[in-house]
Symmetry: C2
């Protein structure tokens, strides 16, 4: 059982190390984890309204306003009016930021290759299956938790 406990602890450790590494990589720039998440999503989903951004990142629309303010001030992002809905604002990656994101993705891929290189080749398929299974189970547990909470809120109404 001791070994089993180690697996979860290692996973937590890996998560922490990643965060620390990111934070160091962005020190000196106005980029923070939350702002980088916005850039990442824009690179992935393309230009979006702030509302759509808020929904995908699961934060309040008000929060997006502030994050986009900072990114716009830094030149990472531009705001433009929505073509048909005059209430909405479209947020797009600036050209320089797109280049920046490409570099980030390249580094991400390099890091993946490096880390996977540390695993014995014979172990890799099982590792992948195992990690997928753990992620799936965790997603399931979180979904159950969330459903329970939604029920509780509904019961109150």
């Amino acid at each position: 059982m001791a070994a089993a406990i180690t697996v979860l602890d290692r996973l937590l450790e890996i998560g922490e190390l990643f965060q620390k590494d990111m934070a160091r990589a962005f020190s000196g720039t106005p980029l923070t984890p939350a702002r980088t998440r916005v850039l990442w999503d824009l690179a992935h989903s393309g230009p979006s309204t702030q509302h759509a951004l808020a929904a995908r990142l699961e934060v309040s629309p008000r929060n997006i306003t502030g994050l986009v303010d900072a990114l716009e001030a830094g030149g990472y992002v531009t705001r433009s009016p929505h073509p048909t809905d005059r209430r909405a604002i479209i947020v797009s990656l600036a050209a320089s930021a797109e280049q920046f994101m490409h570099q980030m993705q390249r580094e991400h891929a390099d890091l993946t290759a490096d880390l996977l290189g540390a695993v014995a080749p014979a172990d890799r398929p099982a590792l992948e299956r195992g990690i997928d299974a753990i992620a799936a189970r965790l997603r399931e547990l979180v979904a159950v938790e969330e459903a329970r909470r939604a029920d509780r809120v509904e019961a109150k109404a």
Copy 2:
């Protein structure tokens, strides 16, 4: 190579899900991730001065002051004078908090067992070896980064 990228993404996802789960578990209590980290360290290392706490958690001493303030107000922790050094303050876990931490460790173990149960038994040994290898490699990379930064600071002096 697409599969390889997936592994790292899954690991990142697992980290995020864990954080989200923790945050929800503590909503309603005055506990936050940072404060829980303090409790965790105290449960692990025993009563400490605030300075020692700050060093182990790698945050500023000033930050510890605030965290301990909150934990003390919630009754999780007690402050007492250092027996020989009148500048220093010893922070100890309150009895109720010790019980609380035991419960947390139990839940932690239960979650580990649950997640590992989702993995095919034949894959578990390889999964464990793989995760250990990745964590070790990542630790190594972070250490190298840190050493480089330390050198740069030294070069300036």
